[in-house]
Symmetry: C2
Subunit: 166 residues, 2 copies
């Protein structure tokens, strides 16, 4: 049995329980660089955890084979993790307040919208809607990094299918 998961627009308000939306819309802004640029300030603050520090990586994601069901979630208990698309294509953000199928939420992010997951937020690995899309990723290195103590995974007993996508 699979559940059906509606797709919601990605807004700061709707995403607040899970972290920050990284886009210019509604952000605090001020002029810099002799008036030639605008700074959309502090869209997210990185949480690197005890003894950790932020690192910059690029993730190159490829489309999942369709039809695709959501059956796995992961989280990074020690630190935040941010994803910012480097090309302007919509992508999907699946998160959950609890690692249960009934708690899943799916947001459609625009190609100029990134997100930062707060530490410990359950999320699905990258879901892109074009054959290939790159993301700048800001996460943590340090004691218990993304490949060790800072990664937990769960497999859901009931899979979910995203309405109208994948």
């Amino acid at each position: 049995m699979t559940r059906s998961l509606p797709v919601e627009p990605l807004t700061r308000e709707a995403f607040a329980p899970f972290g920050q939306v990284i886009d210019t819309d509604g952000a605090e802004r001020f002029a810099i660089n002799q008036g030639t640029a605008t700074r959309f300030h502090r869209l997210a603050a990185v949480e690197a955890g005890d003894g950790g520090r932020a690192i910059l990586s690029i993730f190159r994601a490829t489309a999942r084979p369709a039809p695709f069901a959501i059956s796995l979630l992961e989280r990074h208990p020690l630190a935040s993790q941010a994803f910012v698309p480097l090309s302007d294509h919509d992508w999907l953000v699946v998160v959950a307040e609890r690692p249960e199928t009934a708690a899943l939420r799916c947001f459609c992010a625009g190609g100029r919208q990134g997100v930062q997951y707060a530490p410990g937020v359950w999320h699905h690995p990258l879901l892109v809607l074009v054959p290939e899309q790159d993301f700048l990723v800001v996460d943590r290195e340090g004691p218990g990094d993304s490949l060790g103590d800072n990664l937990e995974e769960v497999v859901l007993r009931t899979a979910a299918r995203i309405d109208g996508h994948l």
Copy 2:
């Protein structure tokens, strides 16, 4: 009098005295997300300085009026600052090991190349070659932030003009 500044290609080796190049070329990489994505790992490590932490902002840069001369440099002594373009257009990176016209270097970054300036590296504010270009910026907030103790500026006595651009 103005000096003429040649434009060099942006490579990790050439940029090493100034910081890191953030691109996938030649980076350490490994498969993640059930084999559907590649992680180009740790292209730069953020240096947030004592008591600081990394924040994510977007800078929207506009083209300078032409002809444009390089006459001002700035640096952030406490922390690194990274710029990653969010649209695929070449842009210019001007840096200097000393705040002197004779020490200026100009690199042409591709639209899929970002840079991170190491703490204290003299650099020119954003120079874009299209009317408008957005960048994800990773820098610091904390005691003495980008607008206070973490910003120094110098005006060069002899301006420089970039060969074939601006």
